[in-house]
């Protein structure tokens, strides 16, 4: 597809300016993409590592919980876990990775670390499950941060790559083509003009000689 422009010098100057801008934008965007990919790789490695660790630890906690459920009645468990002793929260901030907003979480524990129940009706298995699960919380929060960052980066990389490609394969070739066409048209006009002048001169000369 080619763009249609009026073959004038003014149009051509404007197009040349646009081409320069497009090329500069393309270079910047490409650099941005490369840097994002570099950071993404670091983040996603960490993501994988954290996820593996979290999955293992949650697995252990769940195992312990299954044992606890087996040795206590459902009502007893419900009662024991009903009121948490410690509150869990996150301190939330916003970080910027190459002007992409990513969340920053840090785990905040309020209250004392302990078991939220008396030891009357509960078994040691439940203690174990609760302990393991509390241990995994900071890792889960870090995982949340890293995974969200990865999601955001992946989206953004895709968008940037589309823009880079649009500039590289559509915008810039189209502009170059339009400029080439206009300059050809202008040259053609120039030549036409010259020929006309020469022709007129010849005709005038011939008239002079005969007259």
């Amino acid at each position: 597809m080619t763009l249609s422009y009026k073959p004038t010098r003014m149009e051509m100057t404007a197009l040349k300016k646009r081409l320069v801008t497009a090329k500069r934008g393309h270079k910047l965007m490409k650099d941005k993409r490369d840097e994002m990919v570099r950071r993404f790789i670091a983040y996603v490695r960490r993501n994988k590592e954290l996820r593996e660790r979290a999955e293992r630890m949650i697995g252990e906690a769940m195992e312990a919980f299954v044992l606890a459920r087996a040795s206590m009645s459902a009502a007893e468990i419900e009662e024991a876990l009903c009121y948490p002793a410690s509150g869990a929260g996150v301190a939330v901030g916003v970080d910027h990775v190459l002007s992409i907003e990513v969340p920053k979480f840090s785990f905040v524990r309020s209250g004392d670390v302990g078991y939220p129940y008396g030891f009357m009706t509960t078994g040691a298995e439940l203690d174990e499950a609760v302990r393991r699960f509390t241990e995994v919380m900071p890792i889960l929060i870090e995982l949340a941060e890293v995974e969200k960052t990865c999601n955001r980066l992946a989206d953004e990389i895709e968008k940037t790559r589309r823009r880079v490609n649009a500039l590289e394969y559509v915008m810039i070739p189209q502009l170059e083509e339009a400029i080439r066409r206009i300059s050809m048209k202008l040259e053609e006009n120039e030549r036409g003009n010259l020929t006309r002048l020469m022709k007129t001169k010849d005709m005038l000369n011939a008239k002079e000689q005969s007259g």
């Binding site: 994002m36 990919v37 993404f40 790789i41 996603v44 490695r45 993501n47 994988k48 996820r51 979290a54 999955e55 949650i58 697995g59 906690a61 769940m62 919980f65 299954v66 459920r69 468990i77 419900e78 876990l81 009903c82 948490p84 002793a85 410690s86 509150g87 869990a88 929260g89 996150v90 939330v92 916003v94 907003e101 990513v102 969340p103 979480f105 524990r109 309020s110 209250g111 078991y115 939220p116 499950a129 609760v130 699960f133 509390t134 919380m137 889960l140 929060i141 995982l143 949340a144 941060e145 995974e147 969200k148 990865c150 999601n151 955001r152 980066l153 992946a154 989206d155 990389i157 895709e158």
Partner: protein, 105 residues
């Protein structure tokens, strides 16, 4: 209201109550989706969902993917990791880089 919530089946997520999380028992896709939307509107920052719920609520999770908050994170449930979350990481890598360079399988 805590900043962290967890959604899943009763047997798996009850334990999270002891750690001080807001626990919601929900496994049915439609209702879980609505619950996620509601929690997000209420400003919960981190929502953990068990992997079956994560798989069932793809649409609403995709909606919040491109926003900074909330972070919706799949966690394995009582039956162990199903591979859904690893697949999500893998999809990210493929999306960003074009080829899978992490897992090499």
């Amino acid at each position: 209201m805590a900043d962290i919530a967890i959604i899943g089946d009763r047997d798996s997520v009850l334990i999270a109550k002891a750690a001080g999380l807001d626990v919601y028992f929900e496994t049915e896709g439609e209702r879980a989706s609505r619950l996620i939307s509601r929690l997000a509107r209420e400003g919960v920052k981190v929502i953990f969902v068990t992997e079956p719920v994560y798989a069932a609520c793809g649409e609403v999770i995709a909606k919040y993917r491109s926003e900074t908050f909330p972070a919706i994170i799949p966690v394995p449930d009582g039956s162990g990791p199903s591979g859904v979350s690893m697949a999500a990481i893998k999809a990210n890598v493929e999306k960003a880089i074009g080829a899978d360079i992490l897992f090499n399988e």
